[in-house]
């Protein structure tokens, strides 16, 4: 029951991320997405969770819902931009694409041969849609920061895919993955700052001096 609720929320959040133009709401969206995904991870393995599992999940939640968003917001401030004007793909179209993609991911999740003990296909679908959202943001948005957000969203999706498919990676690996993501986003932020200093803007499509 709860998980269905979470999934529904998740779909909504993702659609919102497809459609929104304000970068701060995008960040909030990704934070919320992360939170919901963690919740999904919790509910998808019914309570069979050791204490280090709990700690790990809480750490993850902390990093993904609090630390990274905060970092992003600060990068956003220093970059001094609020919203994504004229994206490569307009917002209505994006929303439309979002709907299509949602449908596709639900269908795809239904197609997959599930191992026993796997969660509800909808969970998988939720993971997929989050990933696709991330990819879409990277492809269809101009600002470097929204691409970073996209990367984060994608990571969220990938991250929850494992528990959804009843795959329990060893803790150390999970930690390493989390660390990587953290450092990755951190460095992205740093580079965004440098780009900001160098170019006075962070429009990726104007960032195409290197070409053949």
């Amino acid at each position: 029951m709860t998980d269905q609720l979470v999934i529904a929320l998740l779909f909504l959040v993702n659609l919102r991320m497809f459609a929104t133009s304000r970068l701060d709401s995008l960040i909030r969206g990704v934070a919320l997405q992360a939170f919901l995904l963690v919740c999904l991870a919790v509910v998808s393995r019914e309570g069979a969770l050791s204490w280090e599992g709990w700690t790990f999940l809480s750490v993850t939640g902390l990093v993904k819902c609090a630390v990274l968003p905060v970092m992003m917001t600060r990068a956003l401030r220093s970059a001094g931009i609020r919203r994504e004007v004229e994206p490569l793909v307009g917002y209505r179209v994006s929303l439309f694409i979002g709907l299509i993609v949602t449908g596709f991911s639900i269908w795809a999740a239904a197609q997959l041969p599930m191992p026993d003990g796997a969660a509800d296909p909808l969970v998988v679908a939720a993971a997929l849609i989050s990933m696709i959202t991330g990819l879409f943001l990277i492809v269809a948005r101009r600002k470097a920061i929204s691409q970073a957000i996209g990367y984060l969203a994608m990571e969220n999706g990938v991250y929850v895919l494992a528990p959804a498919l009843a795959v329990h990676g060893p803790l150390i690996v999970e930690t390493g993955v989390l660390l990587d993501v953290f450092v990755g986003v951190f460095i992205m932020g740093v580079i965004i700052l440098h780009i900001r200093q160098e170019f006075k803007h962070i429009d990726i499509d104007r960032l195409s001096e290197l070409r053949d």
Binding site: L135, I138, V139, I204, D205, R211, D212
Partner: protein
């Protein structure tokens, strides 16, 4: 015997390295290369003569740690025969080279030149010895690459760089076909050892085509010849001599090596070879005729001679299906022409080099009257010219004589079912005759325009014969032209065993009796030559005797009533070639230019012709331009947008998923 071969290869390498190391040494610098080359040649000469004299083939296998291929050297009659020109010409050339390069002041390039010259010569020998696919390619590339570094000797000039690039591309694209050929053979025969290639793994026809293209690029078959007229003018003259005289023959060698491994020679191989022969022979000589650049002209004449060799090979393919001595004669003729062309062509290049160095230009139409200033060089060059025209009693005649003879035999009625031999012989005779006439025209043009008459420009008014270091090698080569010509019978005896064993049918029972008769026949030619010489001498004396008591005055050339003749009014090489340009307009597509005399009192007028290479101009240049255009169009893929790049990733992922799940 194998020891000597290894030793000679090693000597080439070591002397090359030594010349790199101590090239500036006052005493040694100039000596290392030629003497090293001579010593190596002597070492190689022993086993080569041993094999040619009927000894057992020299075979050497050694362990080699590479994943594919094995270290297998093999010196049989075929490779021994092709080794002859290498051994004979390379030392002479390198002796000349030291003198030639001393006159350029480029110490570093000179050292490199010495090194790569040794590498080239050793590489050629290595190619002839290698009896394993990988080893062969190794040797082949070493040879080609060192030739490249020799070509770019004067690398500041843009033409030289371009020439080097063209040569490199030509040789490498040719080699790509050889890669394919050896991979095919290896996959069919299970190993890369030539010993296992018997019957060419049942894919003889494919292999033959690949070999024709791959080796033809090196040999300079017409159409694949574009690098010769570029590289030879660019390279130092002795290098051009070596490349044009000897290196391009390795292409013929490779082709023959492959053909020998076949069980049978289908008739269409013969037609292919004769077709190549006609194209190369006629195309080569016609293009040679219309050139203004002395060395470019010589390069085209090499294409022509390769064509003659191909005609011989084609005839011998037909000979396999015919009776009588056709196959034997044709093959022997081709092989002899390989040797003889090596001699007279290198002689021509060395002589041309001496002239060019003395007068400082390669433009034929700027020269004239060089004979008065460089009489010795002129005489030697004349000899070589007569040889390249195939005039008796010089060595150019020997090979052509045999090929002609084979063709005459093959048109005789023999009651064979197939008409291929008779028609083939008929075609070969007509082509050879045309080539001969045009070649005579071409080289009378060269000699007349460069050496005879009055100087057409100030070029080289102070030219003199070069010193002994350069003139002796040329003399030796010219002498070889005469000796090989007069001793044609002996050459035929020498080549008999080789030619007789090459044929797939004759392998078992080589029959070289006809060649013995032919060599006896050729004695008549020698005899006639001697009689001729006697007659010339006698008539000359007679003339002197008759003129003895008479008034012999000198005066200006009769100008036919035009009193103010100037040297620039002489018939130039261009005007000499004009009828050809007119006759073959459609083929040559020469560009005629200059301003024609106009009005009643015309001012200064001029005329120029330029004949671009057909394939270069109409095929390769457009082709490469097209490639460049496509490349530019492809650039759009890498247009700089990150999201586009990520989109590529996504697309690839989707594509792969779809392909793997559907």
């Amino acid at each position: 015997m194998a020891f000597f071969l290894l030793l000679s290869l090693l000597m080439y390498l070591l002397s090359g390295l030594a010349s790199l190391a101590m090239g500036r040494h006052p005493a040694w610098g100039t000596r290392i290369v030629p003497f090293g080359s001579a010593a190596a040649s002597l070492c190689a000469l022993i086993p080569v003569l041993y094999v040619l004299a009927g000894g057992t083939p020299v075979d050497l296998r050694a362990a080699w740690s590479l994943p594919v291929g094995s270290f297998h050297l093999h010196l049989d009659l075929l490779s021994a025969w092709f080794a002859l020109p290498v051994i004979l010409v390379s030392p002479i050339v390198s002796f000349y080279g030291t003198g030639y390069l001393r006159r350029h002041d480029r110490p570093r390039e000179t050292d490199a030149c010495g090194f790569f010259l040794q590498l080239l010569t050793g590489g050629m020998l290595f190619v002839l010895l290698a009896s394993d696919g990988l080893l062969f390619l190794l040797a082949w590339e070493i040879m080609s690459m060192s030739a490249f570094f020799l070509v770019v000797f004067e690398h500041e000039e843009h033409e030289v760089q371009r020439a080097g690039w063209i040569y490199l591309v030509a040789t490498h694209l040719g080699t790509a076909f050889l890669f394919a050929m050896f991979v095919l053979l290896g996959s069919r025969c299970g190993s890369f050892d030539f010993g296992d290639f018997d019957g060419l793994g049942g894919v003889a026809d494919v292999v033959f085509v690949l070999a024709v293209v791959g080796f033809g690029a090196k040999a300079g078959f017409f159409g694949l010849h574009v690098w010769l007229p570029e590289a030879h003018p660019a390279a130092p003259s002795h290098v051009s001599g070596l490349m044009s005289g000897v290196m391009i023959k390795t292409g013929i060698y490779g082709l023959l090596r492959v053909m020998v491994l076949a069980n049978d020679w289908p008739a269409w191989w013969g037609w292919v070879l004769i077709g190549i022969g006609i194209a190369s022979g006629l195309g080569g000589v016609i293009y040679a005729l219309v050139q203004h650049d002395l060395k470019r002209l010589l390069a085209y004449s090499s294409v022509e001679n390769i064509g003659i060799i191909c005609l011989g090979l084609g005839m011998s393919v037909f000979g396999v299906h015919s009776v009588g001595p056709v196959a034997l004669f044709a093959m022997a003729g081709a092989l002899l022409h390989v040797l003889n062309h090596a001699v007279f062509k290198s002689c021509l290049f060395l002589g041309a080099g001496a002239v060019i160095q003395a007068v400082g230009t390669r433009e034929i139409d700027l020269l004239g009257g060089v004979q008065k200033r460089m009489p010795r060089t002129a005489a030697l060059f004349l000899l070589a010219c007569a040889a390249v025209c195939g005039l008796p009693p010089l060595n150019g005649f020997v090979g052509e004589f045999l090929i002609y003879l084979a063709s005459y035999w093959s048109v005789l009625p023999q009651g064979l079912p197939s008409v291929n031999p008779r028609v083939g012989g008929f075609v070969v005779i007509s082509t050879l005759a045309l080539i001969g006439g045009l070649a005579a025209m071409c080289f009378t043009k060269v000699y007349g325009a460069v050496f005879l008459g009055e100087p057409r420009s100030g070029c080289g008014s102070s030219a003199t014969d070069p010193g002994r270091d350069m003139s002796v090698p040329v003399t030796v080569l010219a002498a070889l032209c005469a000796v090989f010509g007069l001793g044609g019978s002996l050459l035929m005896l020498l080549v008999a065993s080789v030619a007789a064993r090459i044929h797939p049918l004759a392998m078992a029972a080589p029959d070289m009796a006809p060649l013995r008769e032919a060599s006896a026949v050729y004695l008549n030619v020698t005899l006639a030559a001697l009689v001729l010489a006697a007659a010339v001498y006698g008539l000359w004396r007679l003339r002197d005797r008759l003129l003895a008591g008479r008034v012999v005055r000198t005066g200006p050339t009769w100008g036919c009533g035009y009193p103010h003749g100037t040297p620039r009014m002489q018939y130039t090489g261009s005007s000499f070639a004009q009828p050809i340009i007119a006759a073959f307009r459609s083929l040559l597509r020469s560009e005629l230019g200059g301003d024609w005399p106009a009005g009643y009192l015309p001012g200064r007028s001029s005329f120029m012709t330029h004949t671009p290479g057909l394939f270069m101009h109409r095929f390769y240049t457009p082709l490469f331009a097209a490639f460049a255009r496509v490349a530019v169009r492809m650039r759009r893929i890498q247009q700089g947008g990150t999201h586009v790049y990520v989109f590529y990733v996504v697309l690839a992922l989707v594509a792969v998923l779809v392909w793997s799940l559907l």
